[in-house]
Subunit: 426 residues, 4 copies
């Protein structure tokens, strides 16, 4: 199943005049305000978000899983699914592999397929939160942090293997999400766990090629419910500093305690040149992994404000690795991802509309009311015509979701793959 | 595998003199303070907590599950496991069945087995959060609250079937935990969902025998991450009132938003005669389902203070159904339950030590400092000799966990059942 | 200080052409989608929000207060301030009095002044969280819930006095925010406190004229930090039911535990015909009392979705009393209120844009993706031209905040009143 | 008012025999388990907690304050109050001054008075969260972080002045709690605020004598409700590292987001040699500043476990500065502090009872059940006889609170000072 470009263009035709009208209207208004519309479109077009290989099927909870139809069952099919997203949106030009769930059988063929879709291989992800069926030792009591040296070695080796696999595909970074932690007070010694983790991460860092980056995620809880070894950005930052210049903190929006000011963390990390990557999703309670922008779109906008600022001002910070890390428990995974991609672009566009010069001036005068006006003026602007324009100019769909439905993509996938296929490695 | 009483007594012998010394010491001190020790022991002995049939195996999270060895794979084996707990502790004299995971094959045999262990059948639990493999319709979009009449009928019928099964075993109550809810704003209409739920619950209520009680659980989130139909005690209470006199709210300790004052909810429900049951566990972040008393033992004590008070003062409230609802992700399930049972008895005993008369007096004088002193005096008392004495007098173990380990119960279960057995119905 | 209408119109003149252009554009697009623009404008114009008499000065925290300049020091001046807001926005046509801070000296004069400004007297508010300097007894250990009968009588009498004052001004409702609670476990008996509260509220209810309504607020914590007598909507709802048909629950957005689904509470209360009033503000951590819409505008929109729905469908529910209850710690209070009024109208307008028919259809089909699309389509629409149009047609300002600044209102107030005036009764 | 030692001893006489009985019983049991009782008593006696000079009067909230009677109104009287606490408990041998609320008039006299009471001068505290009446500039828009260079200079100068005052009294450390932050998104630039703060702290650090330490507090919110410049331990740690070897993080128990694992933060900071001080209190919702141990005593115990461990293992970490930072809104401040001091000693004693060797062994074997048993065995032990014994051997009261009441201290203070005195500087 591939999106045929002629049919896509046919769909676009019906909507293109409305889009052009809307776009010229908003472009005119924004230009008057001093916005460089072409520059903004260019930046929207340059912004590519990786889709993780595990996100093309239905997710679930500990209480079960309601499967979806036509899920991809091989890495090839997963990359095809991302190809569909990218063809429609022109913003999903990367895949982030999960090992060992998605180890390529034929590297050359996989690279070829990805290239055909215009997809590059972004950060690779290791898995030490789950015992594989053939495992000699268990991660039950931790992996990189384990008090058992052999378990640590096994976990380090696995990460090294992941790097090697990524190297063959053209990836340039490794993301370590360390689920290690404890369920009960006293279960493990905090200091030893931290020291072990630092030691293991340094070994992995040492194994990486010189042009690779290491991304260290943090998370306060789940799947452990008393403590997590890398529980917050402070711990991740400390470990990244210990590893070296090419080790960075990775922020996942869902990995925070209630009410955390995430945008401030982003600003701090970029100032220090230590923000490496970003995982998008949304949540109301915990790491709910919902569609990006579905719960707290204003928070996302505020975070993008810091990202846009940081990309401009903090040259000490590298280019970021962007990825969607959501779980599709109830929606068609591809539709869910289309909504997430739209929400990301929307927030990015709105953040670029913030009049930073006026904002700085208002801040320096202590004009709190005006600061809020400036932010809200950007947020209240309807930027959908800008997103569509940026997309269409690259050959994407005016309205990706509508086109996806009009083309009956899911039905075709079911026809190809069958109904009760399962994508998950869990 | 059964606990041989002669070996148990042999284990006790080594510890009995120390226990008698400790007991007489604490009994003397408490008697001086006006505590009726015999009455307290009697109440401890009368306090029986149900073990759910799904809690004898290892639990897991959405990120996987580390299995435990020698898990029971049949209802018979599960009841045997509870028998082990009851023999050791004398406080686990009930089982709470989950349907359809644990439907008896031979009712007479199962009843006989339970009777042999001194175990009664407490509340039965239905399951509409998961699609069974042979299901005609899916609960993906809700069950008792579904907008689809046929799905609602199927869910009501399932609950009625559960009642019928329970009736055959001697159960007298049905617990409904309704996972229905939504993951996204706008996904479903709140008011229709609530009305549908009320209607469904009334049908189930109508089907129950006249001496049965209906327990309605509430929970703010998980497995749905935007809304839950019965999200709080207020909604459960409203539905219970709508159903009738024998419908009650059930409180699960883990089903609350951060910082909720649970003891106040307990007090309110008992005042209104509407607290039907109680599910014990502990948690730090959400519905973590950890060992009772492992995280917030003082909160448990404060809740027991209200329970003890209510059992004394609120004759309008029925006797409560007690159950442990924890998930054993990392510990031997039986050891975990032994620790939970001990923590429950400890909190109950300490709550009974509160000098209610002095407390009332201090409250009426606004002597806040003294109120705290009275509560803390009870909490700081080491009541372990009381618990052991109550247990031993009924033939239980001085120290159930030590005895369990000394008798190498788990190894024997593995020998009997094999290593890689799986108990869960998920 | 009054807003001179000729100057206001002069200000408008500069912006009116742009507004008309923008309005006709959005009106055209929305009309195509089936929106009744005139009806929508009418409803926006009918929507009036009360300003509380205590909100015209700077607020503070327990760590102090940074005063603002030119604060009103008399009830007359406070009503003048509201007059300024109403002239500019045409949506602040009511005042909500706090007693005893703002007891009128001359009722006829005050009524006359309010009438001149087009302001009515909405719900009156009592205060039993603070001891007045001439108080015979103290509320230190509670008021309506106190274990001291005389204190309860004093608190009831105060509320009755507030009703009598309101009656003279044309108010038709009393709002009771009961700060009663405890700081420590055991400090007071939950059940007695609740029973006392119910008894006190019934007395107040009995004193009210037959056409009055009683609004009962709830709040989980602050100023008490262990428990609050009316801690949640369930308790308020129970008490309202006990009082009678004209007793209702009042929702204040800031009075909830972290992550509470407030829109669901709104839906439930309206279904039951028991939502009486609504206090607007915004918050990130607790009862932060920030500018409406400044932190979580999408949540506000979701709540308005339920309010709009309920006003349409739930004829059993009375018309609601709307009020802004924010604290202006850092902004000019009048500018802060202008921003809040704008945010309220914005959310209301966007909620009215939701295509309820399509939403119902998508819900009944379980089309979760489409449900989200429909909500987000409304939210993403830039409705500012609609708000301005509704306002201008009634004689208000195109841009109230800009006009306020252009007219240098604050400077004039300082000139009239002096710099270091203090409005607060705390 | 001073505690006469002969009367104290008279009070003790009535209880001493019971204490000796209880003590010898518990000492015997613990000795059998391998506990070094004399060493434990010695460590309890060495443990001294500072009382802040602002904590001797009633606290309040933004909704007002219920004053207490006989509050001290001068620094001399405040030190007398601490003298009462220290005489009774032998654990309150330090005072922590707040400047400018408690600037000494006569340094020699104040030092003499403190010496007479056996009280030393611990860390001094600066105040830049409040404008003093004679202030030239305002901290409304920040102090050490301000975008206004002159305001920053004023704030730095104030801190330097505080150091100079402390130097004259024998203090050896400065605690900076920086309330700086924002109420609204966009109000200030995060990166500039952080850079300014670092710069200001370095200046203060540079001003301190060579044997002084700088303690940097963190807090997520309040009195600002959108962001705080030093929002978490990670930020404080980063700033402390930037300042130098004698700059440390200070942990206040109430300054965390919901559900934070504080004990893990303590362990991390001690491992890095960067935990400088500790502020005790307790809370259920936010920075509630309640009596230590009144809400979550098990959490306090877990934190003390890390502290005891760290004091033993982490020689890289300096001796800690301990202080109680609670607000007495409803209790007699001295009684409240007596309860806090008891709770601190209790947790410390219980933490010292943990069998660290067995715990390490259980941890290394992955015996999670046994780890919990070891911790709970210590926590469940009634250590009150140990605390009393440690106290009495130094001349303190068997039961400080009972003695305080028996001696009618508060009445005597009222007689001396009058009823409606006010201690607070707010």
């Amino acid at each position: 199943m591939e999106i045929r470009k002629d049919i896509l263009q046919e769909q676009n035709k019906k909507q293109i005049q409305d889009l052009e009208d809307d776009f010229s209207r908003v472009a005119e208004k924004l230009t008057k305000k001093g916005v460089n519309i072409q520059g903004l479109l260019q930046r929207l077009q340059d912004f590519q978000v990786a889709i993780p290989s595990w996100a093309l099927g239905a997710g679930g909870t500990r209480f079960g899983r309601f499967g979806f139809y036509g899920e991809p069952t091989s890495l090839e099919e997963k990359i095809d699914d991302i190809g569909i997203l990218h063809t429609l949106t022109k913003t999903a030009g990367a895949v982030s592999l999960h090992i060992p769930w998605d180890i390529p059988n034929d590297y050359a063929a996989i690279k070829e397929k990805a290239k055909d879709h215009g997809i590059i291989f972004d950060a690779v992800n290791s898995n030490t939160f789950q015992d594989q069926s053939n495992a000699q030792l268990s991660y039950r009591h931790g992996s990189l942090s384990s008090m058992d040296k052999e378990v640590r070695q096994m976990a380090v080796q696995h990460n090294n293997d992941v790097v090697d696999i990524g190297e063959k595909l053209g990836s340039k970074s490794l993301t370590v999400w360390l689920a290690d932690g404890t369920n009960f007070p006293g279960q493990r010694d905090f200091q030893s766990s931290l020291l072990n983790t630092e030691d293991s991460l340094k070994k992995i860092y040492g194994h990486m090629p010189d042009d690779w980056k290491l991304f260290i995620e943090y998370k306060p809880y789940e799947p452990n419910f008393y403590s997590t070894v890398i529980q917050d950005w402070g711990t991740s930052f400390m470990l990244a500093n210990a590893c070296g210049d090419r080790a960075y903190t990775l922020v996942d929006l869902g990995h925070h305690l209630p009410n955390t000011n995430i945008e401030q963390i982003v600003a701090t990390l970029m100032l220090k040149g230590k923000l490496g990557g970003f995982h998008f999703n949304d949540s109301k309670y915990g790491d709910d992994d919902l569609t990006v922008g579905s719960i707290k779109p204003y928070s996302l906008f505020l975070i993008f404000n810091e990202l846009v600022n940081g990309m401009e001002r903090n040259k000490q910070n590298p280019e970021l690795a962007w990825m969607i890390d959501a779980s599709h428990n109830i929606k068609d995974p591809l539709e869910d991802l289309l909504q997430s991609l739209e929400a990301i672009q929307e927030s990015y566009a709105k953040a670029m509309l913030i009049d930073q010069e006026s904002l700085s001036e208002a801040q320096s005068k202590g004009d709190v009311v005006q600061c809020q006006e400036i932010l809200q003026d950007a947020f209240r602007t309807d930027v959908r015509p800008l997103l569509a324009k940026a997309r269409v100019d690259l050959g994407g769909a005016v309205n990706p979701l509508k086109t996806y439905r009009a083309m009956e993509v899911r039905n075709k996938l079911i026809a190809e793959r069958g109904k009760h296929t399962v994508a998950t490695g869990l």
